[in-house]
Amino acid sequence: MKEMTTDTLVIGGGAAGMAAAVECAERGCRTILVEREEYIGGVLNQCIHNGFGLHVFKEELTGPEYAQLFKSQIRQKGVETRSDLFVVKVDAKRREVVTMGKNGCAIYRPQALIMTTGARERPFNSLRIPGTRPAGIYTAGVAQRFVNLHNRLPGERAFVLGSGDIGLIMARRLTLEGMTVLGVAELMPHPGGLARNISQCLHDFNIPLYLSTSVVEVHGRERLEGITLAKFDPVTLQRLPGTEETVACDTLILSVGLLPQNELIESFVETDPVNRGVKVDSFMRTTHPWVFAAGNNVGVYDLVDFVTLDGKIAGQSAAKMVHDGFLPEKRVPLARTENISTLIPSLCCLEGNPFTIYFRSKKTMKKARISIGPGLFETIRMGIKPSEMVDIPFTVKHMEKLKQLGLSKIEVSLKEVL
């Protein structure tokens, strides 16, 4: 069996992995980037719509354009890309990564490992919708791949369940490609995706959005023939009897959330139950000393820009660990208060660089006060929505104050200002 050592090994060639690999290589580390697909780029390759890069590049790019900027850097900086390669196992004790590819098995022994394995779409069977199991039910990402990479349309008349961004984007995309998109149903009383996507993907094409509505049954033997919709109580989320309505369609597109993917490492690193991803500190280091993580396997981000920035930090930290042999250990945990759901990172490194706190609100607020501390700093933000992640810079100045105050945890608090 082929065996090799390397400074850093990055698993997953999406936005986070490409950014991390470039940073490692730039700092003189021998860097190998492993990708299970034929090409690196991840989901950006199929996201042909625009809207990427406003934070990182200050311009609006499409997914393939955004990916291309990193692909070029990967080539320039000498990252060794191994595509069509599947990671079978990460052995924490022996510090080994076992891969399987066209040329058989191989063992990699990296000094630092960066996990950028992203998220998967929540599958249909996890929704427990009664009825038959016909063809014609696709997750939005699969439909997107069919249409944008393989030139295949999934059907003729589609209904979209879930108002996540990919679902909204696909409602528009399928309409442009000639399908009839009958509507988008969302169980919650508020949309899941960004407001701009409700506007430019649904309103522009007169596609109705049904809030507090979900699919309660699917019909059809070989191929999907229709779905039954029902209304749900906005507060209790209980189904309201007598509100059922059947819609004829041959395609059901699901955009019902993403699940961070960590099966390679979850047996030996801690995960955060709310983020559903790996716990990381502000170095993007997991609870296992030589393993770093960034991107949607840490928590589901809204914007690829944020993923890129955290990928860069993971790469910089891994390179620092390779060069110095260690990273400072002193850390203070970040703690949620009642209105916070997703919160990244889980720990702040006292001897570390400035970083960004990302969180998601549980509620919609017109105006909110964000307090970090107690006693570190406060800021006011307008228009807080559960669908839009909030990014708060944690600067060198804040770090100094944190050390002065000697806090044992950093509370992230979000309160509505009336």
Partner: protein, 124 residues
């Protein structure tokens, strides 16, 4: 006078805009940057979109090349543009940024490739 509520699509923040329209004059509030004012004016007086789609590829490593308009085009032309793209085929190799349609439907705006498509090696 007319009042309109809009969601700014200039960036992912998606500001809720209030626009007051008097003839050709639009006064905007609720925006967090200048883009919001420009967007609201354009959206009310002449709505435009950057459109992204695909064009068929011949002799490439993949069947499609992703494309976008080099600038926003009037919303009313989106359907015609998609039809035009469907009637085309482009030979690989294609470079990112390459102009694939010049002066789309007389708008003065081009359709450009947003990805690279290498030629497929012979025999594959």
């Amino acid at each position: 006078m007319e009042n309109r509520t809009l969601t700014c699509i200039s960036c992912p923040l998606g500001c809720d805009l209030e626009a007051e329209v008097v003839g050709d004059t639009v006064t905007v509030t609720g925006n967090r940057c200048d883009k919001g004012v420009a967007y609201a004016k354009a959206e009310i007086l002449n709505p435009q979109r950057v459109v992204t789609s695909n064009i068929l590829v011949e002799g490439g490593i993949c069947p499609l090349v992703s494309v976008k308009t080099s600038a926003p085009i009037p919303k009313g032309l989106i359907g015609n543009m998609i039809q035009e793209l469907k009637n085309m085929k482009i030979r690989a190799p294609i470079r990112i940024g390459q102009i694939l349609i010049r002066n789309l439907l007389g708008t003065g705006i081009d359709v450009i490739a947003t990805r690279e498509v290498e030629t497929c090696p012979a025999g594959e």
